[in-house]
């Protein structure tokens, strides 16, 4: 795109782009997100390129390699506009058919349409699919409309208009007031009011101020920020530009974790394009406002999602947090006032500026405004990214959008808030999803991971998993976190190995309280949450492990044993062949049996048995 010199010039450029795009009768959007890439969407894209060339359609059909529309489980996803036809699980072989049937003859390719699991009806547009129907996609709506590597696409959907409005029609105080009035709270998990943070940073005296975008999405099971930065990087940049103007910052950083190579690449491309177009750098939009952004990479340390550790990491140091007696808005990066917000928080800013705080605050609950993106994953039928208004119930998300249990096993809980959160049991699924309700229930909103757990998930194992996770990720600076988590892990290890007693539970709870009360940073302070919430709602499971030496979910290997149901076994020998310890005996076509002394409880036999004849107790 050419250099944009003013707000009016931006509007002109937008009109030019739109008129250029109008010549295309059809837009084919192929999702190029990391999820669909795992399913081979790059090959699908190339097949379209070849097919369109062969049929001489390049002049009227445009192919876009877009960001993630969220329904990753059904990938590769292909959407056709303006017909609004949503094809899922598209293979290379399907491409010629889509071109000849849909593009050239206006007919739908039936087998690629989504089928409703209840009435077996084929659904044409994505909006009609139950997974999308209850969603309110404000932040994600452009993900499948724009190519994240083309700034023109973002400008065409109204991109950078909010920036022009902020710079030319508002002063910094008005912008901050607008953000405050909107009720936007930090989407990284803590839920601190964004406008208030900006105001504090603006009021702190100092010539040099920094802003940071936190894309160190370390919570396992969460990938909202990845999809936003991957799929719509310019919206993050625009949010940061508005923030920088309001706060008075001249330099920004986007901190991207190393595990997100595509998000990093797209952020870099967006920065270069914005700079070339006069939307970043010196004299932005001809207004005299200067602002620069660069990216910084993480190195695989979970603790760097914590603001002070992240800042240390940008400074080229070990990512250890510091005490927050002096907040980062006063002294952050290189001791200068620094405002750090999460990716999703920044993405909300242009929307609020364009549509107003009143509109934004009309969405959601009294204290939690706007929408929130969740990554709905685990033991649920439909997995992917869902954006919903705050206040929707867990039941609506898990059952209406998620479609309920995956393979018949009853859902027993949902884990929210990552390792800082907890498990919410199914009997509380009427709970509205907002910052305060989830905290009250012993979990937290967190950055938006929502991992559904069913009967096959052991809650003691879950607690152990999180404690091990955090023990590994603890930076080791303060003792309660470093040593406390280690001991908690040992106790949980003991319980799952059948060595636990009632006293272990008391000790575990006591330790958990001490770690929470005395750790230095958020990692340690919230680390006991997964354990405490599991104990609160699933204590009988812990007691079963201790008293009965039994794992009801059949997960903890030391407490389970496998057996073969004679009546179901057909003697195919698959289990015998796979067993690593030669613990299965039996002749071909005769019922097999497991020799308990030799069995290592690996469960391989159960995985390969086509007759479901292997039982675990």
């Amino acid at each position: 795109m050419r250099k944009i010199k003013s707000a009016a010039d931006l509007e002109r450029a937008r009109e030019q782009i739109i008129s250029k795009q109008k010549k295309y009768a059809t837009v084919i959007s192929v999702c190029g997100g990391t999820g669909c890439q795992a399913y081979g969407c790059a090959k699908v894209k190339r097949a379209f390129q070849r097919g369109l060339g062969k049929e001489k359609l390049r002049g009227r059909v445009v192919l876009k390699y877009t960001g993630c529309p969220g329904f990753c489980e059904r990938g590769p996803l292909v959407t056709l506009y303006p017909q609004n036809i949503f094809y899922q699980r598209v293979k290379v072989e399907d491409v010629p058919l889509i071109i000849s049937e849909t593009i050239q003859n206006g007919r739908k390719v039936e087998h690629l349409l989504f089928e409703d699991s209840v009435d077996r009806q084929k659904i044409i547009s994505s909006q009609e699919i139950p997974f999308y129907r209850s969603q309110m996609r404000l932040l994600l709506k452009n993900n499948d409309l724009i190519d994240p590597t083309q700034i023109e696409d973002y400008v065409a959907v109204g991109g950078y208009q909010s920036l022009a409005q902020a710079i030319y029609q508002m002063n910094p105080e008005q912008i901050i007031k607008e953000i405050k009035d909107s009720g936007l709270r930090g989407r990284g998990g803590a839920g601190y009011p964004t406008g208030k943070k900006w105001e504090e940073c603006r009021k702190t005296p100092g010539d040099t101020k920094y802003i940071i975008c936190n894309c160190d999405e370390g919570d396992p099971g969460a990938f909202m920020d990845r999809s936003l930065l991957e799929g719509n990087p310019h919206s993050i940049l625009e949010g940061m530009l508005i923030g920088a103007y309001a706060i008075g910052a001249s330099q920004g950083f986007i901190y991207v974790r190393h595990e997100y190579p595509l998000a990093h690449k797209h952020a870099e491309i967006a920065i270069t394009q914005a700079r070339k177009s006069g939307l970043l750098g010196r004299n932005i939009l001809g207004s005299g406002f200067d602002f620069e952004v660069e990216t910084a990479k993480g190195g695989g340390a979970f603790v760097c999602g914590e603001s002070t550790a992240l800042i240390a990491s940008i400074e080229g140091k070990v990512g250890e947090p510091r005490s927050k007696q002096v907040h980062t808005v006063m002294q952050g990066l290189w001791e200068k006032p620094t405002n750090l917000n999460n990716v999703e928080t920044w993405a909300n800013v242009p929307l609020i500026i364009r549509q107003g705080s009143q509109w934004f605050s009309s969405i959601g609950t009294e204290k939690s405004k706007g929408t929130k993106i969740f990554s709905l994953v685990g033991r649920v039928k439909n997995t992917g990214l869902v954006e919903v208004p705050m206040g929707i119930t867990l039941k609506e998300i898990i059952f209406d959008i998620g479609g309920g249990p995956k393979d018949g096993k009853a859902i027993k809980a949902v884990q929210t808030g990552g390792p800082s959160g907890g498990c919410i049991p199914a009997f509380l699924f009427d709970l509205p999803v907002d910052y305060d309700s989830l905290t009250q229930a012993g979990s937290m909103m967190g950055s938006g991971g929502m991992i559904v757990l069913d009967e096959g998930t052991c809650m003691v194992d879950m607690a152990k998993y999180f404690v091990h996770f955090l023990r590994e990720e603890s930076c080791g600076k303060c003792l309660p976190c470093r040593e406390g988590l280690k001991r908690m892990g040992e106790i949980l290890e003991g319980i799952t190995a059948g060595r636990g007693n009632r006293e272990s539970l008391f000790l575990l709870e006591e330790l958990a309280t001490v770690v929470a009360d005395t750790s230095l940073c958020g990692l340690g302070k919230t680390a006991p949450n997964p354990v405490l919430s599991a104990l609160k709602y699933f204590r009988p499971e812990f007691e079963d492990h201790i008293d009965q030496k039994r794992c009801p979910a059949g997960v903890c290997t030391a407490l389970i044993h496998y057996s073969i149901a004679e009546e179901s076994c057909v003697g195919c020998g698959a289990c015998k062949k796979i067993c690593p310890t030669k613990a299965i005996a039996g002749e071909k076509k005769q019922s097999h049996r497991i020799i308990p002394e030799l069995c290592s409880q690996c469960g391989s036999c159960r995985d390969v048995c086509k007759m479901n004849a292997v039982w675990v107790q």
């Binding site: 396992p220 990938f223 070990v318 997995t383 992917g384 884990q415 990552g418 991992i451 690593p580």
Partner: protein, 158 residues
Amino acid sequence: MELGAVNGIIDKYQAKITSLISILHDIQDQYNYLPEMALKKVASRLQMDLNDLYGVATFYKSFSLVSKGRHSITLCLGTACHVQGGPKILREMKKELAIEPGQTTKDKNFSLEVVNCLGVCAIGPVMVVDGKFYGEMNWVKAKRIVEKIMKKENGGRA
């Protein structure tokens, strides 16, 4: 060892301290690990204490001070992958390659890594082999992928 590329990498980032982690990533991509001489070069060009740099290089999990295998196998054990059977895949990989996570096979063919989340949770369990993402894995599929590479490395022999 030829370390000519190190200067180029540092220049690419204008020897900025804020790019330290990116510089180390690029060096690791180039040499498969962080060679001692390369770290010394980085320390001198970025005017850092070598001790501090050693601290950084050992703090962040992504970096390795020992040479890695020709093929990297990264297994995600984030929560979603954990509840969908990730640990079983890990068990199989450990058995197949006879190494623990973080280690490299004696023939330098494979390195096994475990990460806490790759952010592709909707299609878990996820495994990354030489940069390529594989979704909805199970231990049988994982074994097949590794065996295929083994066969190739051994010149077609199993």
